[in-house]
Amino acid sequence: MTVYRDSGTGPPEEYVEAEIHRLLTEDPAVAEQGITVAHTERGLVLYGEVESAHRRDEILRRVAGRFPDVPITSDIGVIRTQAPTEIEQLP
């Protein structure tokens, strides 16, 4: 874990965002590159879409575990897998 000089205020948000991105990509239990981290008044919000509800839950669990003092909410969806209802014609 990175130690910051000003431990009273915690790490700058940019570093938190960068660490979350790397955590989600490099953690073998997650391996997601398509999650966006947004700063809001209510804390960090995770956006994106994944292939299963299990992965969505695991992402929030891992991030909350890594940053227990940062309010984090998830708005991650599970991508639909229905058959297409349209085709595209390409002459």
Partner: protein, 258 residues
């Protein structure tokens, strides 16, 4: 005559996803002549995950042709991944191609994973540190293999299949800062050296569906998070109405030209 292609990329299979695509895939024999997979078939590129891909995308009753993506390289088990997929009847392309005899003609598919580097005017160059030169040369060699594979195929309709994007158009929605990690103009240049009818890619989860190469060849980003369905279907033929998008009825895809 029409050649019908289904395509999807970035399905990132593991045990938790097996079975989600299968109901839609079971419809494919009535709806497409071939299924193309645009890389990132697994989460980490393990042999166990490849078995999940084989279970989900094998035995569909139509040819399945794939390229690998960056995720499929993560655990350095590429030979085992390819072997598992090919044992399930899935053809894996990397610098080569295949020609399929379809009812509507001969479909040629040439594929590479591709790599990054960026796009004209804002791309990396073969200059400086060894690491930077290796990065750019990886893309150059991949693009050269794609061009050679495309030009080697004798077919009626030619399709290029990559994981990385050949154009910036289909990256719209991604942060500009990461474009060099999402594709390269060199892939587009390779596609433009052959009579390619369509280029399919994945990788850009936040990108957009449609683009065109500088040479006028249509490009489609079929990454699953972009198309938001099990696969997309493209009909290629010389008499189709370009502006028409067909709907699918309860009994299958309607054919508006029939």
């Amino acid at each position: 005559m029409v050649i019908r292609i289904a395509a999807v990329g970035d399905v990132h299979l593991d045990e938790d996803v097996v079975g989600r695509f299968r109901p839609a895939l079971e419809e494919l024999p009535d709806r497409a002549d071939a299924l193309l997979l645009a890389g990132d078939l697994t989460r980490h590129g393990t042999e166990a995950e490849a078995r999940c891909v084989a279970q989900e995308f094998g035995g569909l009753g139509i040819p399945v042709i794939a390229v690998l993506g960056n995720h499929d390289h993560q655990c350095d088990q590429v030979p085992q991944v390819i072997g598992t997929l090919e044992d399930a009847g899935i053809t894996v392309l990397e610098g080569n191609g295949v020609v399929l005899d379809c009812p509507g003609g001969r479909l040629g598919v040439a594929g590479v994973k591709g790599f990054g580097g960026g796009f004209a005017g804002r791309c990396a160059s073969d200059f400086g540190e060894p690491e930077m030169k290796a990065f750019v040369r990886t893309t150059t060699e991949s693009s050269d293999r794609l061009a050679a594979a495309l030009r080697s195929l004798d077919c009626d309709v030619l399709v290029a299949l990559t994981h990385y994007s050949p154009v910036p158009d289909t990256l719209a929605g991604e942060p500009l800062e990461i474009y060099p990690f999402l594709g390269s103009y060199q892939l587009g240049q390779a596609i433009d050296t052959a009579p390619t009818a369509l280029a399919l890619h994945g990788h850009a989860h936040h990108g957009s569906e449609r683009g065109v190469t500088p040479g006028g060849i249509r490009v489609r980003n079929v990454a699953h998070p972009v198309i938001k369905q099990a696969y997309s279907i493209f009909y290629l033929g010389d008499h189709l109405d370009q502006t028409q998008v067909s709907t699918v009825g309860a009994r299958g895809t309607q054919q508006p030209w029939s």
